[in-house]
C-alpha cells in the first residue's frame, strides 16, 4: 500500500469541506450537528416527561454524576470497544459495504484468542501481541467469508454477515461449552482457562498518577486505549493517504466510475471485509486482556450492533467516531444514575437512538438545503440578466 499523497484532494463524501470560504456553507455545516442535538434533546425530553420525570433535573443529575473521576474513567473504558466496533463498520461504509457481522466476528475472535492465549507460553509483550494477532486473524477470516460470498456468488454482505452472526454465536457457544472450557468448582459459568500473567495488558494508572490524577479504588484506565488510538491513527492514514484508501472512497462514491478508472472492485471488496473483520476482532480484547482474562458466558455482548449506531453518529471520521463512542459510553454509564433517581433505565437507549436518528436526518436535510442553494446559485448565474444583477 504505497502512500500517494498527490491523490489526496477530493473531499470525503459525508462531510463536504468547502473549497473556498462561503459563510452560507459554513452556516450549513454548523447547522447539522446543532439541529441534531436539539432534536435529540427534544425527543429525550418528551420520553422523560412521558415517564413522569422532569428532564432538567434528570440531565443535571446525569451531568453531575457522569463527570466524577470514576464515571469518566468507566466511560473511557467502555468507549474503547465501541470505538473499535464502529471503526470496523465505518471502514465498510466508506465503500458502501455494510458489515453487520461485527457481533459474530468479535465473539468468535475473542473466544479463540482467549483459548489460544491460554494455551501457549510466551514472554510478556509477545504474548499480548500473539493474542491480538489471533483475534484479528479470526475476525478477518470470518468477515472474509462474507467478502468472498459477495464477489464469487453475489450474495449481499448484509444478509451473509447477519447469517454469519448466528453461526458464530452457535459455534462459539458449542466450542465454549465443549473443547475450550475450564470448569471452576462451584461456578455456574463456562469459561476458557485464564490467560497467564504474561498475556495480561497492564493498565494506565501509572500514567494517570504521573499527571497527578489518583484513580479511585477499583477503577482503572484500561491499557487497550493505547491500541485503540493507534488503530484510529492508522485508519485515518490508510483511508486518507494511501492508494487503497483512495480506491476505497472512489468505489464508495461511484462504483462504476471507479471500475472504469481501473479499480479492481472484487479485490477491494474482499480486502475491505478482511480489514473490517480484523478491526472487529479486537472489540472483545479490552475485556479479555485487561479485565476478565477469559471468555465466558458473562462476556460483554451486543457491542457489534451498538457499533453500527456509533459509526453512523461518527460520520465515518475517526475523530467523530471517538466522540460518538464517548457519548454512547457516557449515556450507558448514566443508566446507573437514572435508576437511582427512579427513571426507567431504558431512557438511555431512547437517547442513543434519537441521537443517531436525528444526526442522520439532520445531515440529510442540510445536504439537501446545500444542494438547493447551489442550484439556486447556478440558476441565478445562468438566467438572462444575471450579469446585470452581479
Amino acid at each position: 500500500m504505497s502512500l500517494l499523497t498527490e491523490e489526496r484532494q477530493e473531499p470525503v463524501p459525508v462531510a463536504p469541506t468547502p473549497s473556498r470560504f462561503d459563510p452560507r456553507r459554513l452556516l450549513l455545516a454548523v447547522a447539522a450537528p446543532l439541529l441534531a442535538a436539539l432534536v435529540a434533546l427534544a425527543v429525550s425530553s418528551v420520553a422523560l416527561i412521558a415517564s413522569g420525570s422532569n428532564p432538567f433535573t434528570v440531565y443535571a443529575r446525569m451531568l453531575s454524576e457522569g463527570t466524577t473521576l470514576r464515571s469518566l474513567l468507566i466511560t473511557v473504558n467502555n468507549a474503547v470497544p465501541l470505538y473499535l466496533s464502529a471503526l470496523a463498520v465505518a471502514l465498510g461504509f466508506r465503500m458502501g459495504l455494510f458489515n453487520i457481522g461485527v457481533q459474530g466476528q468479535y465473539q468468535l475472535a475473542a473466544l479463540l484468542a482467549a483459548a489460544a492465549g491460554a494455551a501457549v507460553t510466551l514472554p510478556g509483550p509477545l504474548h499480548i501481541a500473539f493474542v491480538i494477532v489471533v483475534a484479528m486473524a479470526v475476525g478477518a477470516l470470518w468477515a472474509g467469508v462474507a467478502g468472498v460470498l459477495k464477489t464469487a456468488r453475489g450474495v449481499s454482505e448484509v444478509i451473509s454477515t447477519i447469517m454469519l452472526n448466528v453461526i458464530a454465536g452457535g459455534l462459539a457457544a458449542y466450542l465454549l461449552t465443549t473443547y475450550l472450557q475450564e470448569r471452576v468448582e462451584g461456578s455456574n459459568n463456562s469459561r476458557t482457562p485464564l490467560l497467564p500473567e504474561s498475556a495480561r495488558l497492564p493498565d494506565l494508572d501509572g500514567l494517570l498518577l504521573a499527571v497527578g490524577i489518583e484513580p479511585p479504588q477499583g477503577t482503572r484506565l484500561g491499557g487497550f486505549l493505547v491500541v485503540a488510538i493507534v488503530v484510529g491513527v492508522l485508519y485515518a492514514l490508510v483511508v486518507s493517504r494511501s492508494r487503497f484508501g483512495f480506491e476505497l472512497r472512489a468505489t464508495g462514491l461511484n462504483p462504476s466510475a471507479a471500475v472504469a478508472a481501473g479499480v479492481d472492485a472484487k479485490r477491494m471488496t474482499v480486502v475491505t471485509m478482511l480489514l473490517s473483520g480484523a478491526i472487529a476482532g479486537m472489540v472483545g480484547l479490552p475485556q479479555l486482556l485487561g479485565q476478565s482474562y477469559s471468555y465466558g458466558l458473562d462476556f460483554q455482548t451486543g457491542l457489534g450492533f451498538t457499533g453500527i449506531g456509533v459509526a453512523l453518529l461518527g460520520r465515518g471520521s475517526p475523530v467523530g467516531i471517538a466522540f460518538a463512542a464517548l457519548l454512547f459510553a457516557f449515556l450507558e454509564r448514566s443508566s446507573a444514575t437514572l435508576q437511582r433517581i427512579d427513571v426507567p433505565t431504558e431512557i438511555y437507549v431512547i437517547m442513543q437512538g434519537s441521537i443517531v436518528l436525528s444526526v442522520v436526518v439532520a445531515y440529510e436535510a442540510v445536504r439537501r438545503a446545500g444542494v438547493a442553494q447551489a442550484e439556486r446559485a447556478v440558476r441565478r448565474a445562468t438566467e438572462p440578466g444575471a450579469a446585470v444583477d452581479a
Partner: protein, 338 residues
Amino acid sequence: MASLALMACGSNDPDTGRDTAEPGSSAAAQSDAKVGLAFDVGGRGDKSFNDSAVAGLDKAKAEFGFESEELSPNASGSDRGDNLRQLAEDGFNPVIAVGFAFAESLQAVATDFPDTTFLIVDDASVKSPNVKALLFAEEQGSFLVGAAAALKSKTGNVGYIGGVETPLLKKFEAGFVAGAKQVKPDIKTQVKYLSQPPDFSGFGAPDKGKETANGMYDAGADVVYAAAGGSGVGVFQSALAKKTLAIGVDSDQYESVGDPTLQPVILTSMLKRVDVAVYESLQKFLNEEELPAESVFDLSTDGVGYSTSGGFVDDISTQLEELKGKIISGEIKVPTTP
C-alpha cells in the same frame, strides 16, 4: 474517596424515598440497614427469577423497614462490577448479586469492601469471608416435575425447553429427564434450548418459546417443561392452542402468569425459592446471626419444590410426595448433568 461516597449517599437519600418503606406501614421497628440488590441483564419484571429475588427483598423490607436500592446493568452487561461497587460504596450492606455472572466482578469488589456482606445467588466460586452463596438444588425440583409430566403424559412423550444452554440450565434438564424416566423408564424426552450463551435472549423471547413448543407438541409430546424465564408464556400459549399441558418454572406461574386463559394448561411449576433464600438470609443478617458461606436450598428445606395451584397434580400427589421423601432420605440420587 470518602467524600465521593458521602456525596453520593447524601444526594441520593431524598430520591430513594420512594423505595423506603412507609413509616408506620409495619409494626416492626425501623431498621437502619440499607440493602442493595444488583440484577443481571433482564432485571426486574421478568415474572420469574429476578422477580423472585425482589419478592424476598420486599417481604423482608415490609417486616424490618429498611432502605433498599436496586440496580440493573446496561445492555452489554459491562457495568455489573461497577453496580456492585457503587452499592457497596454508597453504604449498602448487605449487597445481593442476583446471578452467577456476577462471580468474576464480585471477587474484586468483595476484597475492596471487607466490611460489606455480599450475597450471591447461584454461584459458589467466589472465595471470600464476606461473600455468602445462596445455592439451589434445581435438579431435585425438576426431578419431581419430570415425574409429574411422565405420570400425566398419555403419549409417553415429554419435552424440556431451556432458556439458554448454560451449565445451570443443564441441571434443570438432567433432573427433569431423570424424574420422567424414574416413573416411566421407556418415556421419550425431547430437549431444546432457545439461545446460546452469551446470547441470553432465550430468557425473554416468548415467540421463540411458542415456536419451539409447537414443534415439540407436533412431534408427539403432550407435556413440556419451560425452564425459560420470560419465554415460558409462549410455551403456555402453544400448549393452550394444542390442547396439551406445560410446566412453569421458578415461581408459581399459575399465580403469576396474569392471563386466566393460560392457567388451565399449567400443570405445575418447579419452584426455585429465590425469594425464600433472599428473605431468610436478610432475616438472619438483620438479626445479626452468622450466615454460612454456602446455604443450599433443596427439597428438605422447601427451597425447591413443585406447586399445586389449580389442583392438577392432586391425583398424583402421593407418588410425588413419595419420590420427594426418597430424594430427601438419599435413596434417590438426582444427577446434576445430563
